[in-house]
Subunit: 497 residues, 2 copies
Amino acid sequence: MNTLTDNPITQIKNRQAQLVKALKPLLPEHALLWEPEDTIPYECDGLAAYRQMPLAVALPETEAQAVAVIKVCQNLEIPIVPRGAGTGLSGGAMPIAQGLVLSLAKFKKILHIDPIARTAVVQPGVRNLAISEAVAHHGLYYAPDPSSQIACSIGGNVSENSGGVHCLKYGLTLHNILKVRAILISGEVVEFGSLAPDAPGLDLMSILVGSEGMLAVITEVVVKLVPKPQLAQVIMASFDDVEKGGNAVAAIVAAGIIPAGLEMMDKAATRAVEEFVHAGYDINAEAILLCESDGTPEEVAEEIERMTEVLKNSGAIRIQVSQSEAERLKFWSGRKNAFPAAGRISADYYCMDGTIPRQHIATLLKRIQDMEKKYQLRCMNVFHAGDGNMHPLILFNGSDEDEWHRAEAFGSDILETCVELGGTITGEHGVGIEKINSMCVQFSESERELFWGVKAAFDPKKLLNPDKAIPTLNRCAEYGRMRITGGALPHPELERF
Amino acid sequence: MNTLTDNPITQIKNRQAQLVKALKPLLPEHALLWEPEDTIPYECDGLAAYRQMPLAVALPETEAQAVAVIKVCQNLEIPIVPRGAGTGLSGGAMPIAQGLVLSLAKFKKILHIDPIARTAVVQPGVRNLAISEAVAHHGLYYAPDPSSQIACSIGGNVSENSGGVHCLKYGLTLHNILKVRAILISGEVVEFGSLAPDAPGLDLMSILVGSEGMLAVITEVVVKLVPKPQLAQVIMASFDDVEKGGNAVAAIVAAGIIPAGLEMMDKAATRAVEEFVHAGYDINAEAILLCESDGTPEEVAEEIERMTEVLKNSGAIRIQVSQSEAERLKFWSGRKNAFPAAGRISADYYCMDGTIPRQHIATLLKRIQDMEKKYQLRCMNVFHAGDGNMHPLILFNGSDEDEWHRAEAFGSDILETCVELGGTITGEHGVGIEKINSMCVQFSESERELFWGVKAAFDPKKLLNPDKAIPTLNRCAEYGRMRITGGALPHPELERF
């Protein structure tokens, strides 16, 4: 590092000049950004509460260009933050002050579709929904469907192991991909996984999935495709008590049914949504469940009948089955618009992503009700109930600093309750920068040491997305002290230069 | 190491005495074996061609005892070979000359069954089939069903990521477990995975699955249970040409059908089996397919009809559908007895486990026919066709050293052809000691370096099952030279002390 001065601003400017000079010969002119007016769109991802300007943003158009960029960063020891569509909700793609953002936005080709093997080879910048659109004429689609599927990219999905409403039946991203091609920090290109069902050696592809850009930079993904079901129908069931609704979820799964979707919303959520999209929800119910069945018409008829019976036995007070595709989409439109609906009724909202074993849904809901009183903030609850993946949306006003601190504390309290109930601090949104302190609660020191050991195998200099996803031992020691004194950890990443 | 003498036998005897002295106070008397007449049953696993006597065998009965044993080995730097039921087919549980065998055979309790969450907590020594038997009264079972399921244990299944005839629909071991509790080489006990669907941080559970005892010693597994289908039926279809049979497999999957089982056998296999168990196979067919459907009676009827149509269009010359549960089991009895049937017609057989993309089944079969001429040995072919997982059984006479060398070369040739066709050298039997040289062909040097890096994160001193599964860089360099000169690598592990 060239440091003839001790002034930190000058140091960073010098570092930036060094990086830009090294990258300029390797990229087309429009593919390298460093002026603040050009890089400001990259200062955060979907978690806009956390912002940081990078040294520069590179948008390579070919794998060879990406390799060259990575080699420069390795030589100069400049950290790299890989970025897909930037829709992530945990700050995983938030820049690092002294780092480069490596955007894969130009990698948006679908390279090959094989309808016989039911696979597609896609570049990481391809949008999730674009895959399903491209293979629709073969009667196929790509199953994992995060709510952001119109915008989010498959590279980001792999990095976060994204889920969606259909993941109970069809699995997470991990279960729907076969191979990942990626660039190591050395610049070498490696393929992980196999077109065959099981690869020998250690399962490095699985560890790459959900690794939040910390191990390698993805350049190609082989996804599995599944046949579009002939028919899908959804049941909307109302409950006068959240506990009954939570127990109905467990009862459906215990009955041996694996619905294509199994979602739950509480009264605060259904009311906010109903005012917004008029999905036909029962706004007097304490909780509603959406239970989807898909398959052949015979399969769907039989499964809808069985689910209806379980729901009635679980105390559902109203049951309605979609009678057309339009009505099915209308029922889902409410669930899919829960986040914008929260945005309509509150200046800001903070979306949590904890996951718990299904049988504890009712317990967690009651604990959240107590927390609303403790933190003096409202919370609306939307869940991928079948997976036990909860999205409590904490409503607050971000211009009131005290409300933001209470919202943060409320969020940590929910996540730590999830851990206490045998669950985890994140289901599908990743750890990123947002939940890095909660990782200290989720994992023991020796588990975090194993993470760091694996990280070192891929990236010994810690250049790939550092300070994300896995907290250092020091950070956890510090967090432990802060929790005891009741203080809030400062976020040094929040400061811009 | 106590070495006042240069005599290697004396050295080993001293080492053994040191180990036994340290372990005796930690274990019940019957749980520590070191006399050759006691340890000889442990000198090999299911791959009996490779044998080695260990220093000693420990059979702890509690996790605390296992921890104590591991700590002693760590202090004395004595390698540990964890062992389940010893049914593995790749020598993964074969002892190491200077090492301890750590048998988990006494860990055979089913600790907890939760029919609502559909999970069971089991110790690693529990037999695969014993889980299904224990939960049958809840209408549940554990899906992965290796042919050895009567004998093999769940700890071994996790270590090898075992499959079975139902894995096309229900997934491999990886897809059917939620958590693994294991002892690290430091003696610390860690739980990997989560009862919730996705755990944050790096996915260390997935990397533990299939790691062949190289990363940690498993002490508990949380398995998923699935509802027993109301009905299952199997179609037996005959083809006058192996290529048509292979293409029928691809056509079924391309039609959007995911059969509960999809198996193929060639003429050599059906003839050997039919003489042995009289399963009713068509011994004039060049290949037969077994295609199973399970579910509700309506689902099965519909799927059997669709599969029958695809099979007819693919050129099936005879189609027979099981008309009773007894007939279904009779059809499967042939497939499940293919290995002993090979044992009846040949003094020895060598079972391969390559996996290829489904569309190349016919190509591989033709290449194997050519190899039969080249190596002057017969081969019968049994496949998990839906998975593309092939089990060619090379027939030879082990007392003829030249035949054994030809069988080994034949096997390597098949596996390297699998890699050439985009597949892998092992589907479900693991690498162990048997396929360690083929790993040099399957993976590049930098991929093997990543494996070693991950290994180092768990086991920096390389004490857990060393010299298995991942070849050293030296070994691969040596193998490269041997392949060029056409020689066979000596197996130093074969020598007993």
